[in-house]
């Protein structure tokens, strides 16, 4: 399926999901990139997986700190139909919250925990949203651009 067909199919089902345009002065995106509203991300993902597009493989889920907003980026493949999609969700920096997709793809489970650990993005409905990588009692979210590490006895 070509990118345009995928885009048309998505737009037909979810009009709120639009193709994301790279900012001025940046290179064009290398693969089809769409943006979805945060609130409906779980439904969009569930449809992407079970609907006609069969995006059954969540390759990666990354948080990004864009200074004015936070972003969650999903890289999806379809192993069966051999196409891919980049799904982006913009979040408010003050209240970074969005529904979890760990019920759609099990793989999202640890990815979301990592994003929570690194960016403080809260995934509602996640079965076990705890810090995964940082030490016990760690304060702050290290991958935020304004994070400053506090020196302790080990530094």
């Amino acid at each position: 399926m070509t990118d345009q067909e995928i885009l048309a199919k998505i737009a037909e089902k979810f009009p709120a999901v639009v193709e994301s345009k790279p900012a001025a002065g940046t290179l064009p995106a290398y693969s089809l990139t769409v943006e979805a509203p945060a609130a409906s991300i779980a439904e969009v993902c569930a449809w992407l997986k079970s609907g006609g597009l069969k995006f059954d493989y969540l390759a990666s889920l990354s948080g990004v700190d864009l200074k004015d907003k936070l972003q969650v980026v999903y890289h999806l493949y379809s192993l069966e139909m051999k196409h891919k999609l980049v799904l982006k969700v913009n979040l408010d920096r003050a209240v970074p919250e969005l529904p979890s997709v760990s019920s759609v793809w099990q793989a999202a489970n640890w990815h979301e925990r990592e994003a929570y650990d690194m960016f403080g993005i809260k995934f509602t409905g996640h079965p076990y949203l705890e810090r995964i990588l940082t030490a016990e009692g760690f304060e702050g979210y290290p991958l935020l651009k304004d994070f400053i590490a506090k020196p302790d006895q080990y530094d």
């Binding site: 030490a135 016990e136 080990y154 530094d155």
Partner: protein, 168 residues
């Protein structure tokens, strides 16, 4: 074995010529300790792979009597082989405390020497000597297996200078 190591030097040294006995005891004790350094089979990161290469046939730790033990109770030597993170620091400290005296620490590679490539990371301990007393440092990232063997020889030299005598 407190009797041999603590009391005996006191008693012996009060006799004429006792210090010779103590010196020869020193030699036997140090020889046995240096010849049978059992490290804890424990790896942290990249250096652990080179440490494994040391166990392997090409470099063969066992030639020096270095015989990895899985439990800290039976180990004399701990290699800090790799990056020590803050999350791991307390565990490594506990491992060290579980080891029976006499115990030695070898810091292997840049990460455990000073933090190495992660010197400005928020989660890495900047040198294992902030957590444990280190006997030998090996430079390298990771050090060659031969350098690890050399560190064992260096540690053996250091052990040979130990004494049970109270007259320092």
């Amino acid at each position: 074995m407190g009797l041999v190591l603590d009391k005996a030097p006191y008693i012996l040294e009060s006799f004429p010529g006792g210090s010779y006995v103590v010196t020869s005891m020193d030699w036997v004790i140090n020889w046995s300790r240096k010849s049978s350094l059992w490290p804890l089979s424990f790896g942290l990161a990249c250096c652990a792979i080179e440490w494994m290469a040391d166990v392997g046939s090409r470099n063969d730790f066992d030639r020096f009597g270095v015989f990895p033990r899985p439990t800290p109770r039976q180990a004399d030597l701990i290699f800090i082989s790799g990056t020590l993170t803050k999350k791991m620091a307390s565990r490594v400290r506990r491992l060290y405390e579980q080891m029976a005296e006499p115990r030695y620490v070898i810091s292997m590679g840049s990460c455990s020497n000073t933090g190495g490539p992660f010197y400005d990371s928020y989660s890495v301990v900047k040198g294992v000597d902030k957590v444990l007393p280190v006997d030998v440092y090996i430079a390298g990232c990771p050090p060659r297996p031969e350098a690890v063997l050399l560190s064992i020889l260096k540690l053996q030299e250091k052990i040979m200078t130990e004494t049970i005598s109270h007259k320092k």
